[in-house]
């Protein structure tokens, strides 16, 4: 049951070693830097040190209470991350699959619009552009 913010890449197998002992189901989600236009070099992710760790821990604990999780983990990177590389992961462990799936979905909806991260796209030409928040991310949160 932990949340981490780091610049370094993470390794999913390492993260899952010993994760969710006693659970019947483990779900993981990994977000990658996607290039929709063929012109993206990287993302640069800014965050709010202090608040970020606190917010991720709050959302993890809320998911654990709501879905009865045996274990949860959130790892979110910041700094410059190249196209195709992992940005973040959530893992949820529960007795049964539906709780694990729903908890991972819930956590992603909260992280998308309520965790203090801001993405900036860096083009192959070096131009930087802040990514705008999507209204459907906000709509997704209303499901819960």
């Amino acid at each position: 049951m932990s949340a981490r913010v780091q610049t370094a890449p993470f390794d999913l197998a390492t993260e899952l070693a010993g994760f969710g002992a006693g659970a019947g189901a483990v779900v993981t989600f990994t977000g990658l830097v996607r290039d929709d236009t063929g012109s993206l070099a990287a993302l640069e992710i800014e965050h709010y040190p202090g608040m970020t760790e606190r917010a991720l821990t709050d959302y993890g604990q809320a998911a654990a209470a709501r879905f009865g999780l045996c274990d949860w983990r959130i790892v979110h990177r910041h700094g410059r991350i190249a196209t195709g590389q992992p940005i973040m992961m959530v893992a949820t462990a529960a007795r049964h699959r539906r709780a694990a799936f729903e908890a991972a979905d819930y956590l992603m909806d909260w992280l998308k619009s309520r965790a203090p991260f801001w993405k900036r796209e860096i083009g192959q030409d070096g131009a930087a552009r802040w990514v705008a928040a999507k209204t459907d991310d906000e709509d997704s949160l209303a499901r819960w």
Binding site: M51, A133, D137
Partner: protein, 83 residues
Amino acid sequence: MTIEILYFAALRERVGHPRETVTSDARTPRDLVAELAARSDGHAAAFADMAALRCAVDQQLTDLDAPLGQPREVAFFPPMTGG
């Protein structure tokens, strides 16, 4: 009271620095924004779109019209884009 103000992402760029210490008796974050926006053209530009403004008071997301209390730290930033 003395408050540490933090700016992130596009707001930080428009204001021109990531933090500043101010003295204010603002009763809500919205009142504080009105005071901050008067500090420079960059501040005014940063706060031009109130619909796209988010705020955290002592590292908790807070409505712009909530009572401010006696915060140590108030942060302003655009809608978040994590995940």
